[in-house]
């Protein structure tokens, strides 16, 4: 029932994370290199799913391109609806993931943000994030007439076993064979060890960055994490990501030391579940901020650190299959609930905001059960927001605003 707080420009500037600008430069340079004509670029391009093992691509000097990161760009630049509509015209169902629809349509019209993605020389698809990627990548493999590698990762419902371990590890060998064939040269295992170390270092730094918000007030919110995430997704395994995250971490630590919080008068600490609503990031961020609520952590950005305990920095390749297979999105409902409970406790949160994401079935399926488990185990209030990460037609502002307000009223 508190009336919204409005910040002055000076106050906004003080709270701004300064590393943001460097992040934009790095991402621009990354896309500019990828968009060079193939002759100038001299490197091959692989399109890869967000949860796909990217490190071997860096070993082979292949530029990884993420249609899902591009999907986020499409959403954030509010180009989702026309592209989704285009895909629907092409015959794809509206129930299909909006990343898939937007990517397929962008390839068809050769448009979208940054004028479309550079054409792939190969496609790498790992189904640890969903089943949709299989058909989506098959569609793109047919369109571009390029080889497709599929890494099949079984879901860990309750326990990961030796059969699963062998199954995914054998596929890692096949993956390397695939890359050697497409790139026409042998795989460099020494370089793999180095890229692996950089990948782990990047993930450790990312984890440390996310953990800065255990401090009160939190130096950033999950809306900031959604932005800085792009680096761990796209440039995981590079020195660039390590350097950038060191810089960001130093800035956040300084904010903690100086007591600068992202949300003025931080009163409520909340956890976000599921992908961001890209076209409403600012709106949502302001809604919570104006009401002194800070989304201190989320399950999504933490997803890129979840394999840290499973890996071995001295034998990265030996654990590659298992660590990718066991990401939290590829696990059963009970394990997902445990993950949220752990996050709530760690960050001392008073509530959980679930985004029931029409696009992302594996993430959204089970949320009502998870909600119930959390209420039973922790007795804290939860909020369900029905929307979509890219397709704005699934967003109802009036209803969502009422829900957020009512939820915060129940926290008092």
């Amino acid at each position: 029932m508190t009336q919204p707080i409005l910040l002055s420009d000076a106050e906004k500037e003080r709270r701004k994370i300064k590393a943001d600008d460097r992040m934009r430069e790095i991402m621009a340079a990354y896309y500019m290199e990828a968009k060079l004509p193939p002759k100038e670029r001299k490197k091959k391009i692989a399109w890869i799913t967000s949860g796909g093992p990217v490190e071997p691509l860096h070993v082979m000097d292949v530029i990884p391109i993420y249609p899902e990161n591009y999907g986020a760009m499409i959403g954030a630049s509010k180009m989702g609806v026309p592209l989704c509509e285009k895909a629907e015209e092409m015959g794809y169902a509206r129930d299909l993931c909006s990343y898939a629809r937007a990517d397929i349509a962008a390839a068809e019209v050769q448009g979208g943000p940054i004028g479309g993605l550079p054409e792939p020389d190969m496609l790498i698809c790992c189904n640890n994030i969903c089943g949709t990627v299989l058909k989506w990548y098959e569609v793109q493999a047919r369109r571009f007439q390029v080889p497709l590698f599929i890494l099949d990762t079984p879901i860990t419902h309750t326990r990961f076993n030796d059969d699963m371990r062998r199954y995914v590890q054998r596929q890692v060998k096949e993956y390397i064979g695939f890359l050697e064939e497409v790139c026409g040269r042998p795989f460099d295992y020494d370089r793999m060890a180095e890229v692996g170390r950089l990948s782990i270092r990047g993930q450790e730094l990312w984890q440390e960055i996310l953990e800065t918000t255990v401090h009160k007030p939190a130096p950033m919110t999950c809306f900031d994490a959604f932005f800085h995430l792009a680096m761990i997704v796209t440039l995981r395994g590079t020195q660039t990501a390590v350097d950038y995250y060191q810089m960001l971490l130093a800035e956040l630590k300084e904010r903690v030391a100086r007591g600068i919080g992202m949300v003025p008068n931080e009163k409520y600490r909340l956890v976000w579940d599921n992908l961001p609503i890209w076209y409403r990031l600012r709106w949502l961020s302001n809604k919570f901020m104006e009401r002194s609520a800070c989304l201190v952590a989320d399950t999504y950005t933490a997803g890129w650190t979840s394999w840290l305990p499973l890996t071995d920095r001295n034998n990265f390749l030996g654990f590659l299959g298992e660590s990718y297979a066991r990401i939290f999105l590829n696990s059963g409902t009970d394990l997902m609930a445990e993950n949220i409970i752990r996050i709530v406790k760690k960050y001392d949160a008073q509530g959980v905001v679930f985004h029931s994401n029409r696009s992302c079935k594996p993430y959204s399926f089970g949320q009502y059960d998870i909600q119930r488990i959390i209420q039973q185990r922790l007795g804290i209030p939860t909020l369900m927001i029905e929307a979509d990460m890219v397709d704005e037609r699934s967003f109802s502002e009036g209803q969502i605003e009422t829900r957020i307000d009512a939820f915060l009223e129940t926290l008092k």
């Binding site: 029932m1 909600q371 209030p381 029905e386 009512a406 009223e409």
Partner: protein
């Protein structure tokens, strides 16, 4: 101390004036397309009914879908919180509320003070709400007032499988074409609404006694169908439609004192 609550809903706007826990006046008007004007008009009528000048009102709380348009209100509070407090005022024993308004349906679990412990709300689709029933009444050429009562005369409720407003309307048209009795069709519609709302409401711990609030509480057919589905009786106040506005007026009274 005299306070006012204004509930600007998607179909109707309600205003209530309260003094010391006593309702001085209450009005319901159509919302039309201008939420601010509807809020002002409802308040003016309520003042007139209570025989009061505007300056006697110490505080005004706006709630409902159009709450943020009521710029002369001192505060805005969501209808979820207001329905909880309003229901508690109407019957302090109530521990849960099912509110079906023009475009939303909600269920709330309350504590002993009428504060909302948890709530659940329908998704973007308007199925199972007042607007849905309006569309159905129009398709069947039945006056909305008579719609609820008629369904009680059904001998065999017609099956309506879809609760999407658009698809249900075409199902209803097919049933009309097939010569199904109007009473049975209406009873089928009410059963479909009850099924949808119950499925939603059960996501939270819906402890009895349960009160039904909102404009649709005036529809006896929906009330009966819901009671059947839930397996326990619903408390329906004569002031069901005013619950949100009452809660809003009470918030101002408790915070100003």
């Amino acid at each position: 101390m005299i306070t006012a609550g204004i509930d600007v809903g998607s179909i109707s706007t309600k205003a209530v004036i309260i003094e010391g826990g006593r309702i001085l006046s209450a009005v319901v008007i159509g919302s039309g397309y201008n939420a601010r004007r509807a809020g002002q008009e409802a308040l003016d009528l309520a003042l007139k009914e209570a025989g009061l000048q505007a300056d006697r009102i110490v505080g005004i709380v706006a709630t409902g879908y159009g709450r943020n348009s009521v710029d002369f209100a001192h505060r805005t509070v969501t209808e979820i919180t207001c329905h909880g407090l309003g229901a508690h005022f109407l019957d302090p024993a109530v521990r849960s509320v099912i509110d079906i308004g023009g475009q939303d349906s909600k269920a709330m679990a309350l504590n002993e003070q009428g504060r909302v412990r948890e709530f659940v709300m329908n998704d973007k689709c308007a199925a199972g709400t007042g607007r849905f029933l309006e569309v159905m009444a129009r398709a069947l050429e039945v006056d909305l007032e008579a719609f609820g009562r008629l369904s009680l005369k059904a001998d065999r409720p017609a099956p309506i499988s879809s609760v999407c407003t658009v698809f249900a309307e075409s199902e209803v048209i097919s049933l009309i074409a097939a010569g199904e009795k109007r009473e049975n069709i209406i009873a089928g519609i009410h059963a479909a609404v009850a099924a949808r709302v119950t499925a939603m409401a059960r996501r939270i711990a819906l402890a009895p006694p349960t009160m039904m609030t909102g404009g649709v509480a005036k529809n006896i057919g929906v009330v009966k169908a819901l009671e059947e589905r839930l397996g326990h009786p619903l408390h329906v106040s004569e002031m069901a439609q005013l619950t949100g506005a009452i809660g809003a007026a009470l918030i101002m009274a408790s915070s100003s004192s």
